[in-house]
Amino acid sequence: MSAPPPNDPNIGAPAVPDSLGTKTLEKAMPWAVILGMFVLWELICLVFNVPVFILPRPSVVTETLIRLWTPIMRHTTYTLWTTLIGFALAIVFGVALGVAVGAWRMVYNGLYPVLIGFNSVPKVALVPVLVIWFGFGPIPAVLTAFSISFFPIVVNVATGIATMEPELQDVLRSLGAKKHQILLKVGIPRSLPYFFASLKVAITLAFVGSVIAETVTGNRGVGYLMVDASSRFDAPLVFAGLIVLSFMGVGLYLVFAEIERRTTGWAHRGQEGNG
């Protein structure tokens, strides 16, 4: 079994002769596309003479990024922290609730409608409420990140536990297994791949949540930096913020995708092995 895991980017690619050249080219493609986009952007701005306060050229943005590197990084670190704290809270509460909802029918019946209702509230609408309660510090951002990212964790953990094969439950119950034994030996291990899959989604959402909150409440953070720059028509700084945000978003996603790949390899191979 040397087949690559399903999330291997090469899997959907057409079968080409295995020459070194095409392999390298395949790896280089995403970077080439990104670079090409920036070049195109630069050229369009130059050719059509687009004013800097509407769409600054990448070279101008880069120059701003370098010139204001220290303050931008200070805001970035701040945003990273509020995101991670909110995300950590989401993991703690999400897992606890997910296990409860997945394992006990009563909890499911009682909580599911509430959770759905809660999840359908646009989280931006929470920010003013959080400001009333917690003022303009980091807490509204942390709580927004938390509230937006914990739902997918709950749902995934609960799904992992609730979809246990009924035959397996019968086997275990006939051995005299107690509920907590079934949960510990089977339910929780089998929900791990679901949990780790949800982390990639949840971290991205947490990040969205904290930036949204910063744009409304903040006096710090990348969201605040961009709103502030925009109010001064400092387009290059706004775009610099945007670029930092996209790097951060992609970076966080990659970290958790890698954690998922390393921790639950058996799940991917299991699916392949059984077709």
């Binding site: 019968d170 051995l175 089998r190 058996w266």
Partner: protein
């Protein structure tokens, strides 16, 4: 005294008035050490009967007894295997088999204190079913037949008196299935447990069982039974003897009659 007995058992899924009547007036009785097969049309309540014998389900009416005692809760001296081998993908073959002794109360303490005897037992079982060398492989590295062999070992490691099999070989190809008939027969002959095998394969029932019970359409009743008088150990060649084919034809005719009735 019968080892397992069902007396006018009835089972309704859901509410008594509006639910599904799955089993009605089912009666049978079997001796200790007997190998019983239950055959019948799909949906007639075969799995339901197994679940009642194991104590996973309680009958709505009638009596299910094992060793003369009414079954009221899951019996811990049963081993169960299903069509779906349901091995845990994050555990090796060996660890999957040991799951039973980690959980069963009579074994879990002594297993934790000294796993050695249980490891020996597991290796011995694995050898009997032909899985030596696969102890440390994961389920996704095993073929369907091998997974089913491991699932049988998991059902037997805690030395149950009663082995309950719910169409365990239904998803396997013909050659693997016949292979496993012999594996099961060997286990049965060496370990002397009692077996209830639910199947819709009449040749399988005739090859393995001492007594074949035939069920009617839902709501399932036991409508007739047939003794199989072929000497053990039975060999696959026996399946081509006229007595064997006659018996399978007879079983088929009885089920066909059940399907026509009503």
């Amino acid at each position: 005294m019968a080892f397992v007995s069902l007396d006018k058992v009835r089972l309704v899924y859901g509410a008594a008035s509006s639910g599904t009547l799955a089993v009605q007036d089912a009666s049978l009785s079997m001796e200790r050490g007997e190998f019983v097969a239950v055959v019948g049309p799909s949906g007639c309540g075969k799995s339901t009967i197994l679940k009642m014998v194991s104590g996973l389900l309680s009958p709505s009416a009638g009596l299910v007894a094992v060793e003369g005692q009414r079954v009221t809760q899951p019996r811990k001296d049963c081993g169960i295997a299903f069509q779906n081998p349901t091995l845990l993908p994050w555990r090796t073959t060996l660890d999957n088999i040991l799951l039973s002794v980690e959980i069963a109360e009579e074994h879990s303490k002594s297993y934790r204190r000294d796993p050695k005897p249980y490891l020996d037992k597991a290796h011995e079982l694995l050898a009997t079913v032909g899985l030596t060398g696969f102890e440390n492989k994961f389920p996704w590295q095993l073929s369907g037949g091998m997974q089913q062999r491991a699932s049988l070992c998991r059902a037997l490691i805690h030395q149950p008196q009663l082995l309950l099999l719910d169409e365990p070989f239904a998803a396997l190809d013909a050659f693997t299935r016949e292979d496993l008939w012999q594996v099961l027969q060997n286990l049965y002959l060496t370990r002397k447990f009692t077996v209830i095998l639910v199947t819709h394969d009449l040749r399988e029932a005739a090859f393995l069982a001492d007594t074949v019970y035939i069920m009617s359409k839902r709501p399932g009743r036991i409508v007739s039974s047939k003794r199989v008088e072929i000497q053990r150990p039975r060999r696959l060649d026996d399946c081509f003897k006229p007595e064997f084919t006659d018996m399978v034809h007879d079983l088929r005719a009885r089920i066909a009659k059940e399907l026509e009735a009503a």
